[in-house]
């Protein structure tokens, strides 16, 4: 079976085209070693089945971002039979840069000239026939969103696979070609038969490609270094810059020959941008969009949450009745149905949230939001794009952490993820309501509000600490395109949200399932004890660890066990307390025997800040690796301990 790769600039419509070509025949995985998604699909043309790999969207193949390395390694090492380059015609010059780089890799290439309708609307016309002749490739005009040009594209792929030719090196300026051919001569002299293509190798060496440089002898490099030194002197630039400038010169000569632009009136996209980025309106609009996303996600989601929750409760009761009393029954009812159920009920929220996020992403609002918030967020050690995950964190940390994928820089992404769990998620609210209701009946609302504010403060302080310590010298450069607004396709939004929801379910079925079993075992063993009672392993464990919490004002085993169960999901803290103190109804009488108002508040602060729930930790591990997940566990526990200690100590002095 033939394999073709599809690549292109971000926002060129590459993924839409890939989806249109493959339909539902797709597999989603990760590229080895990194958490960048790899999609592989299949399509049929002329009775042949062709496998197609979706490469990450990139602007070039030279710089060192993960995406570019993946795309480049795939083309060089996996050697696909042909490469489809998706070109956004409204942006021809910049897109041609990538085309040139791939053509120079001696690949059989088909160009999909996408966004045909948008191009027409903007008064741009391109003489694709002559351009195709000059580049020596087939060009097919497509409109991925309207599914136009797909059959022509498939045909062109088949024809190119059968009798496509590799391209010759392009002609650059005479001044530059002189150095290029001299480099070629040096290579030929020293390595008479190592390279298939001396011209390309010479170009790559001048470009400063380390991989290629390493493949030639030191002697050769010495000769070439002398040559590049005099080239740099003549051009007054670094060699790599000379090469890219030569490429741009060549591209602009192409564009002069084949592109004509009619002057058009300001587009509606520009008009929208003037409002959305306006000095006075920008921030209110941003806040409105965030508020809508947040409220809709949780109001609509809660309807379904309730239904799912009732469903799981009913399922548990039904299973309990069927299985009777016993180990197995307890395992299934308390462990599996209760534990996995408490996570799966968030599924509607996750689906809705990603529905809105992909809608905002596809429309093109996300870069505008980053634009509006960047300054404020960099002040506190984050990034313009961190704002959305932080807001989402008030709902649930899991989708919030997953939404950090929009951040390109690894540093920004790690910091955003690490501070995210301090935003008080919805699951912590039942604990606050219960405890604050008992100890601060007059101003429970205000007490809960202070907890939310404290969470925000701790996340800001943590971000600043991380910025100053972990990532001290890393400057994050922010360069991003504001693509024109586009009407999104409902199908693509639904399938994106559906995929995220499915991935969440898959995780609930693996990581969370395993954690649930371990905790259930600890709560039920040794055999015959009351579930999560004083004699169970977890009860004994609670007694051992409870002295740790003495300085915080709640050094009794029931508090330790509740917190330990809160590790499963934070709202479980209330349920556990109910069980341990003999029923949720009598907590208001029992709790004041254990807590005073200061230690109760310290307990709430600890609940707010301590180790994220197991599902969140699983998500952190999946997104940035086990090392950072472990760091998050330790850091948040330490932060919770220190802050609660301060609260309890100072509170005890004052009150």
């Amino acid at each position: 079976m033939n394999t073709v790769a599809i690549c292109g600039n971000p926002n060129s419509g590459k993924t839409t085209l890939f989806n249109a070509l493959t339909g539902s025949h797709q597999q989603v995985g990760n590229w080895p070693g990194v958490t960048v998604e790899k999609k592989v699909g299949k399509f049929k043309a002329a009775e042949k089945t062709i496998s197609i790999v979706d490469l990450p969207g990139t602007y070039s193949l030279t710089a060192n971002s993960i995406d570019e390395r993946i795309a480049r390694d795939f083309i060089i090492k996996e050697n696909p039979d042909a490469v489809i380059v998706v070109v956004d015609q409204t942006n021809l010059e910049r897109n041609l840069y990538l085309v040139l780089e791939i053509l120079e890799m001696k690949k059989k290439v088909v160009l999909a000239f996408n966004m045909s309708d948008e191009t027409q609307r903007r008064g741009i016309s391109i003489n694709t026939e002559n351009l195709a002749k000059e580049l020596g490739v087939k060009i097919v005009k497509t409109s991925a969103s309207k599914k136009e040009g797909l059959n022509e594209l498939k045909q062109a792929i088949i024809q190119t696979l059968e009798n496509g030719k590799e391209t010759q090196l392009f002609s650059y300026s005479e001044k530059f070609m002189k150095y290029l051919s001299q480099t070629e001569e040096i290579l030929k002299k020293h390595h008479s038969d190592n390279f298939v293509d001396y011209g390309w190798t010479a170009l790559k060496i001048l470009e400063g490609d380390t991989e290629i440089k390493d493949s030639v002898s030191q002697e050769t490099m010495q000769d070439i270094d002398k040559l590049t030194a005099s080239m740099s002197q003549e051009f007054k630039e670094d060699p790599s810059i000379i090469v890219s400038e030569e490429k741009y010169k060549f591209i602009s000569s192409l564009s002069k020959k084949y592109v004509t632009r009619k002057k058009v009136n300001e587009s509606w996209s520009d008009k929208v941008d003037k409002v959305v980025t306006n000095k006075w309106l920008g921030i209110p609009i941003f806040l409105l969009v965030m508020w809508l996303t947040f409220t809709l996600t949780f109001t609509i989601g809660d309807i379904f949450n309730g239904m799912l929750d009732e469903g799981f409760v009913a399922l548990g009761e039904w299973a309990g009745a069927k299985l009777g009393e016993g180990m197995l029954s307890s395992f299934i009812v308390n462990g599996i149905i209760g534990g996995v159920g408490s996570v799966v009920v968030f599924l509607p929220n996750i689906f809705l949230l990603f529905l809105f996020i992909s809608f905002l992403g596809d429309v093109g609002y996300m870069p505008r939001a980053a634009f509006v918030m960047d300054k404020l967020m960099t002040k506190i050690g984050l990034h313009g794009k961190s704002f959305i995950p932080m807001i989402l964190g008030f709902g649930c940390s899991i989708p919030a952490i997953m939404s950090t994928r929009t951040l390109e820089s690894k540093r920004d992404r790690i910091v955003t993820i690490l501070v995210n769990p301090f935003m008080s998620c919805a699951a912590r609210l039942p604990v606050y309501t219960l405890v604050a209701g008992i100890f601060f009946p007059q101003n429970a609302g205000f007490v809960i509000f202070t907890l939310y504010v404290l969470g925000i403060l701790i996340s800001i302080i943590s971000a600043l600490i991380f910025k100053k310590t972990l990532f001290k010298n890393e400057e994050s450069v922010f360069i991003m395109e504001l693509p024109p607004y586009r009407l999104p396709s409902i199908k693509s939004i639904l399938s994106e949200a559906g995929m995220r929801a499915f991935m969440f379910l898959k995780k609930a079925g693996t990581v969370i399932f395993a954690a649930v079993i371990v905790i259930w075992l600890l709560a039920s063993l040794p055999a015959g004890v009351e579930y999560a009672g004083e004699e169970s392993i977890i009860g004994i464990f609670g007694k051992i660890i409870s002295p740790i919490f003495k300085p915080l004002g709640f050094g009794f085993w029931q508090a330790s066990v509740s917190l330990f169960f809160g590790f499963l999901a934070k709202e479980v803290v209330t349920g556990t307390m109910g069980t341990l103190f003999g029923g949720e109804e009598i907590l208001s009488q029992v709790l004041p025997q254990f807590f005073n108002s200061v230690s109760a508040y310290a307990f709430l602060v600890f609940t707010l800040l301590y180790t994220p729930c197991v599902a969140t930790i699983g998500t952190i591990k999946q997104e940035i690796g086990a090392k950072w997940a472990l760091f998050s566990v330790i850091y948040s526990f330490a932060a919770a301990y220190v802050v609660s200690f301060i609260v309890f100590t100072i509170g005890s002095i004052i009150f």
């Binding site: 070039s60 400038e245 741009y248 941008d273 980025t277 634009f371 509006v372 960047d374 360069i479």
Partner: protein, 150 residues
């Protein structure tokens, strides 16, 4: 006249002259279209003053002010301070100062893009715009940069 991109006000244009970054960052800027010789225009500034959005070949690219300061563009004319420019008509290019002075001058009717007539009266500098004579001190008139076409 070469000025850094960060000194532009919305609507101002020029030709990219040079970009001064370490190699990897430079590659990224080149790939996004910041190529010497290209026309560039400042189209949006964030409500907080940073980042900025520039238009290159119909593409809107957002960068931070810090990086914009390392990109020089040729605005196609010479710039002199209002203090040193000869008497006569001239166009204000930018105010080389912070927000405070910028807003103060704006409330007087002096802001980038406005044309007026500079004249001296008894050794004092006046800028006449909208049929109004505005008296400017030497210090302030050195902060007002005006276009001088070549």
């Amino acid at each position: 006249m070469l000025v850094p991109l960060s000194s532009l006000k919305i609507g101002m244009k020029g030709k990219i002259q040079s970009i001064d970054f370490e190699e990897q960052v430079k590659e990224r800027f080149l790939a996004m279209g910041f190529v010497p010789g290209k026309d560039i225009e400042l189209v949006h500034v964030s409500p907080f003053g940073d980042p900025m959005v520039f238009l290159i070949d119909d593409n809107k690219i957002m960068i931070r002010r810090e990086q914009a300061g390392k990109i020089l563009i040729d605005v196609g004319f010479l710039i002199e301070t209002l203090f040193s420019i000869p008497d006569g008509m001239c166009e204000v290019f930018t105010i080389d100062s912070g927000m405070m002075l910028y807003e103060r001058l704006k409330s007087l009717g002096i802001y980038p893009g406005i044309t007026g007539e500079k004249h001296l009266y008894k050794g004092k500098i006046f800028f006449r715009t909208n049929q109004k004579d505005i008296l400017l001190g030497k210090r302030i008139s050195r902060k007002i940069l005006c276009k001088k076409y070549v």
